[in-house]
Each structure stands twice: as structure tokens, then as C-alpha cells.
Symmetry: C2
């Protein structure tokens, strides 16, 4: 039987041209984050199925690639359901494995711990343009810092990285806090038990607009008074740090006192310190899907491209699920594939200035001469030139065209000396 | 229920100190191989189960992590055996996926194609010291070159990379050819149908010695005359290029004429051109396990460490299994985990000369002063210094110790001004 040539559904082969862009972006992100003192770590791609299905991952838990038990542990006859057949799964994000990692290795790590992770994650989503079942995430997290220094550093580092990768694309950082989200809804009189429903509708703002949100909230049966108060509050709130502080005063009765001041302080400090240019504003409609967030949340969008290119927030309760002891945690994840799509659409990016030279050798070259050519290649390589040694094809023009696509700009032909 | 803190059986969390060494080695390998014109590519970690179980992978096929079908495709009640439950698996090497990649994307690639792959592979092996169920491989392959230029480039590139990573460790490259292996056995009168058995015993040479091999061959029932002729031939063969040519003359009746000349030429050219120091010799007892090899095979060992650190060979028949048309192929794989183990045992390696500085800030710092400190950090980062900003712990000595383990050498303390 012939073997299958295509990759498995929803996953893909990465061709050389894209791979160069990916490597370049990876290095820019790594360098920037390391400059901020983030330390690279790695966890296995396979996680315990118990951890992956522990309700930390929201909807992603429905999308797990599960791994069959092996050997005697697999009892097909006795198996009643899927759970009896599997003992592991491919990680669907890098946050849950980080929480496990920290709980396993915390004693050997500095505290607070600033982690950098770059790795593949898998989700068995419906395949669609630009969305794949295996994709790369680049996360930074600060574990063990309950102060706003964590948020400030995360936003500074991520915007510095994005500024380096896409210097031509303007971008925007929107921030909010889960406590403010909750405070606003409580203040407007929504029932505490129905808040998640309110936020799911609010989260559609960028698709259906404020009128759409209003209509859906009413349709869902929420009190007209609450809905109208909510819409007015959303519309009337300022988007700068002063607006956040003012909102804090309005919500005094519905929210812990320090929340608004904390967010305003983060915004002011980031604006004051950042060396990269971007706009930063408070967005009271920012929800972010993951249920594990407990405080500040942030999201980055890039001009001219829908959807977000990075996002994150504070999740102070996840590590406690492993250790029994809460540890403050805050993270920021760059949507690596999104960035790559943007750069590839723009025609790639400047990858570096190494000279790429191809030596094309006619087949049947005399062995002494061949040795000389190879030595010449080694010398050029030693001097930093990338030298491809390849046989000359019959169709030299086509061969040259293919190599030009890979960035080769200089070609040296070596022919047999026909008179020998 | 508390979540599981340990990684899944046989896989591991990589701590910061090792991660630094891994990244450093990865970069050295990538830079060297790219200098030789190898082009980085990537395939999905998940492969079709049909491809993984197509008899290309030898014993590795017994060690596949299999992935459960999803949704309607999973019919637990109707399933008769494992095969009905799974549709994919984690790749056990990078060679089979490369063959699939080339058959899928060949039209868009230069020919010959020089591929570089660095990625994780998975094998559900019995966990033991230094052997893990997820590990990294670094492979280079040349597809579409039937000449010995492929072998020469592969050996030059791999030895250059190893020389850069481990400049203090002497290493040895042993070469052989599957045709010579076969020719010697046929010449000595072993039955053609039993050659694989002969090679399995021969492969134990480094463990049981020539006397052990002799005893096992006799025990397996091979003719004493053949065994004695074989042992004498193995012992009497020279290990340099001249020895290979001479062996070619002896085996004239049992082996294609050009085989020995080809291998001798590879050895001579590599010795002539290589800029890295290593010893290179012909080893007529080198077998290498993988059944897919069709010609030259090579293996690298490092002084003072048992086992091989790299290996490879020619496999001209695998791509044809996908495309129906044979394409010559030759590859070399660096045993990345082995190299890392050696370097970690030696106490790591020189990772670079970036200054790593930690700013330790007393909690509760006045916000204006804090902004100034953050700006100072940004300026140092811009100048290439790695600056970690962290809160000061109560136990400053312990904190400093932990950070020193991560390579921080400079510490700056920022205290609140208590008189304000």
C-alpha cells in the first residue's frame, strides 16, 4: 500500500521560506525576553490526562488529542469509555504545564520565577484558514509576584518584542481587570449567578457592537434597567488612567478599593517607561475567554489585522490546584502563528545579511579538482559565508530560480575540464 | 482531586541551567549546518498511523505513542483492536516524516534538497538513566544526490558542528557500507537468507568482542569454515582507505565493483578537506540497526563516552515508498540528548559573554522612584545587558544564590528611602 503524502488533517509541513521567518521571529522574541531576565524552560508535550481535563482549560479541554495506553494497561475488552483507554494527551497550552512545572520544581527555581516558553501546542479544532491543529506559542510568565510589577514587566517585554518583530505595524494594548468587569456588572444590578452569561455576550462587542450587546442582554432576560445602566456606564467611561481611577470611585460599593488604582498605576508606569511606540488604553469590554484569570487581563491588536496578536493576564489560583498553596501568577502569550501570517502576507521580513552563495558542480568532476572546490567552500564558510555545494542540474535556469527563492544571490559554476 | 505534579512517565521538565546549554548547542548546530547550505524545515509531530507502521522504522514501530480517534470516528463498541481506535501517532524519528515531506512538497524544493531538522521525537521505551520517552534529534539529509558528494558533505558538516560544540573532546568517525557488510558475509559462504542474523551478532562486537562474535555465530549453527574465514577477514582488513580498496579486490566476486572505491574516495576526500580534527576509519563490523539503510553507513563516538553521539547513512529506497519513484537519500543524525548529557557532566559549557545583572527592589517602592529604576533597566537592556527586575526577598542571601545559579553576576539593591 502506498504511504500517505499529505500531513495529518489540520497540521502542516513548513516550507523553507516560512521556516526562515519563523526562526528569525523566534530569535527576536527569545533575545528580547532574555534581555528582561526571563529564563527559558521546557515541559514535555505530553501531559497527564487528569491534568488536562481538570477544568483549567475551558473549551480547550474538548479539543485534546488523547494518547492511548500501552502494553498491559490497555484493556480493550474491559474499557467502558474513552477515559479507560487513555493516560495522556498533547498539551493544549503552555500555562497549565507551567503550573505543573512550578509545583514540581519550585524549590530549585528563583522566586519570583520569570519563565519563558516557546513550544508547540495541539488542539483538535475544526481546520480553517490560518488555524491549525498544531501551532506554536511564545509565553512569558511571572510566578510569585503579587504586585503590579509583574504586569508592568510583562507588558514592557511583550511590546518590546512586538516592536522589534514588526517595526512598521502600529499596535494597541488594551487592558482591563476581571474585578472591574465584575464590579461594573454588579453595580448595574445583574444577578451574581448570571455574570458569566453577561460576559459571554459582552465579549461579542467587536462583532455585534454596543447595540447588539444590548439587544442580546435583553433577549437573555436581564432587567432592562440593568442593561441600560450597563450600556451607559460602558459608553461613559474614559479609556485613560484617569478614567479608570474615576470608574473606581463610581464602583466603590461594588469592587475592592485598590483594583482601579492598581490598573491605573500599571497604565501610567508602562506609558512612562516603554521605549516602543504603541497605544495603551483601558477597555471595559475586554473579557478574554479563559476562566482561570483572576485579575488584570490584556490583549494586543495590530493595525490592519483583525483579532489579537497577543494576550494574557493574572491567574492567581491555578498553581494552588497543584500545590494546595496559592501562588500569584501572571502571563503574556504571543500568538506566534498570527504574527507569522502577518509577516508572510507582507512578503516576509529582513532576515539578516549573511551572504548566501551556491557552488554548482558539474557531475563527474575530477577528484583532485573536487577536493580543491570543497576546500574553497570550507574557507568561505569559515569566513561566515553560507555556501551550498550542489551538483549542476541539466536545467540550470530552473535550478537557479529554485535557489533564489531560498535567498541565494551568488552562483559559482564549476565545469569539468573537458580537455583532460 | 489534587493534580499531578510530576511529568508523565519517562518524560521530563527541563530546568533553566540545562535549557541554556540546550539552546546554545542548538544554535551552534543550526549555524554550522546553515553555513553548509542546509535548509531548515518542520513537519508535524503527529504522523498518520499508516506511515508510522509501514515497516520503515524497525523496532521503533513497537514504541509508538498512538493517538485516539476523535468524534464520530471513534466507535468504541465496534472496535476490535487497537488499530480501530487510532488514526495518528507521535513520530519516532525525523527520517520517515522527511520522506513524506519530500514526496508532498518536492516540486517546491530545490533539487538536490539539503534539509535540516531539529525537533522532538517520542518512543515509549522502558525508562532508564539518560534515555527518555521524548527527546530531541538534529538531522541533516541530502535528497536527490546519488553521488558520494552527499556523504562527503554530511560528514564534513556534522564533524564541523561537533567540533564547535565539544572542542575539547576528541572524536572518531567510523564508516562502512551495507554492500561491503553483505559482500564480506557472502564471500565467506554464509547463507544469503541468514545474513540479517549474522549482522545482528556482528553488531554486538563492542560488547562481546571478536571471540564472542565467533562463539555466537557457531552457536547459531553457521558453518565453522565460514565463521573462521569471516573472523580472519575482519581481523585482516586495514582500516584506512587503502585497506578498503584492497578489500574491494578480495571481494571482487561477491560485491559490485565500485562500492569499495566509492567508500575509499569518501574517506580520502573528507580527510583532505576537513578543518576539524577527528579520526576517521573504516570499521567492517559497523552494522547500524535501521533496516532502511542501503549503502554507506557512519557513526561517531566521543572519547571517554560509550555509545555513539551521531550516526547515519544512505537510504535510497524510502522515498520511493511514498512516490513510487526511488530518490537517492542520505542523512546524518546528531544524538542531541547524548551531547547534552556529556556537556552537563562536564559542568556545562561557555554559553556566551552577555552581562547578566539583577535589580533587586524592596517592596513598596515609591512610584516615581520605581519608574526611574525601570527606565534605567530599559536603558541597560538596550545596551545589550540582560537585566532581571525582581522584588527583594527577605532572605537576600538565598535569593542571590538562586540567581547566581542562573548566571547572574551583578546585583544592584534598591531600597525604599525610609526618611521620606
Amino acid at each position: 500500500m502506498a504511504l500517505k503524502k499529505k500531513p495529518v488533517t489540520g497540521m502542516r509541513d513548513i516550507l523553507p521560506a516560512e521556516m526562515q521567518v519563523r526562526e528569525y521571529v523566534m530569535n527576536q522574541i527569545r533575545d528580547t525576553y532574555q534581555g528582561f531576565g526571563f529564563t527559558q524552560i521546557e515541559t514535555p508535550c505530553v501531559e497527564h490526562i487528569e491534568n488536562l481535563t481538570s477544568k483549567q482549560g475551558g473549551d480547550n479541554e474538548k479539543l485534546i488529542f488523547k494518547i492511548l495506553k500501552r502494553g498491559e494497561k490497555l484493556d480493550l475488552k474491559a474499557a467502558q469509555n474513552e477515559g479507560d483507554l487513555v493516560d495522556g494527551g498533547l498539551r493544549y497550552d503552555l500555562t497549565l504545564p507551567l503550573a505543573r512545572y512550578f509545583s514540581n520544581n519550585g524549590a530549585q527555581l528563583p522566586m519570583p520565577f520569570k519563565a519563558l516558553q516557546m513550544g508547540s501546542v495541539w488542539r483538535a479544532d475544526h481546520p480553517q484558514k490560518g488555524r491549525f491543529r498544531q501551532f506554536t506559542q511564545c509565553d512569558i510568565d511571572i510566578l510569585g509576584d503579587e504586585t503590579s510589577m509583574a504586569e508592568i514587566e510583562l507588558i514592557l517585554a511583550t511590546t518590546a518584542a512586538l516592536g522589534k518583530i514588526c517595526p512598521e505595524n502600529g499596535f494597541t494594548v488594551r487592558v482591563n481587570d476581571r474585578e472591574i468587569l465584575k464590579g461594573m456588572a454588579v453595580y448595574c444590578g445583574f444577578e451574581e449567578g448570571l455574570l458569566d452569561q453577561v460576559f459571554i455576550i459582552l465579549d461579542k462587542m467587536d462583532k455585534i457592537g454596543i447595540e447588539g450587546v444590548k439587544a442580546e442582554l435583553l433577549e437573555a432576560g436581564h432587567a432592562r434597567e440593568s442593561v441600560e445602566k450597563y450600556v451607559a456606564l460602558l459608553a461613559g467611561t474614559g479609556h485613560d488612567a484617569a478614567g479608570v481611577r474615576k470608574l473606581g470611585e463610581v464602583l466603590e460599593s461594588a469592587m475592592p478599593k485598590e483594583v482601579a488604582g492598581n490598573l491605573a498605576y500599571i497604565m501610567e508606569t508602562v506609558a512612562d517607561v516603554a521605549e516602543t511606540e504603541f497605544s495603551l488604553y483601558f477597555d471595559p469590554t475586554l473579557v478574554r475567554g479563559m476562566s482561570y484569570y483572576t485579575g488584570t487581563i490584556f490583549e494586543v491588536s495590530m493595525e490592519g489585522f483583525g483579532g489579537s496578536v497577543a494576550g494574557g493576564g493574572r491567574y492567581d489560583k491555578m498553581i494552588g490546584k497543584f500545590t494546595g498553596k496559592d501562588t500569584p501568577a501572571c502571563g503574556f502569550s504571543i500568538g506566534f502563528e498570527r504574527i507569522i501570517t502577518i509577516l508572510m502576507d507582507q512578503g516576509g521580513c529582513a532576515i539578516g545579511d549573511k551572504v548566501k552563495k551556491a557552488y554548482l558542480i558539474e557531475k563527474g568532476m575530477d577528484s583532485v579538482r573536487f577536493g580543491e572546490i570543497m576546500k574553497q567552500a570550507m574557507e568561505e564558510r569559515r569566513n561566515g559565508v553560507q555556501v551550498l555545494v550542489s551538483h549542476m542540474n541539466k536545467n540550470k535556469k530552473f535550478q537557479k530560480g529554485q535557489l533564489e527563492k531560498e535567498g541565494y544571490t551568488e552562483f559559482v559554476n564549476f565545469y569539468r575540464e573537458s580537455l583532460k
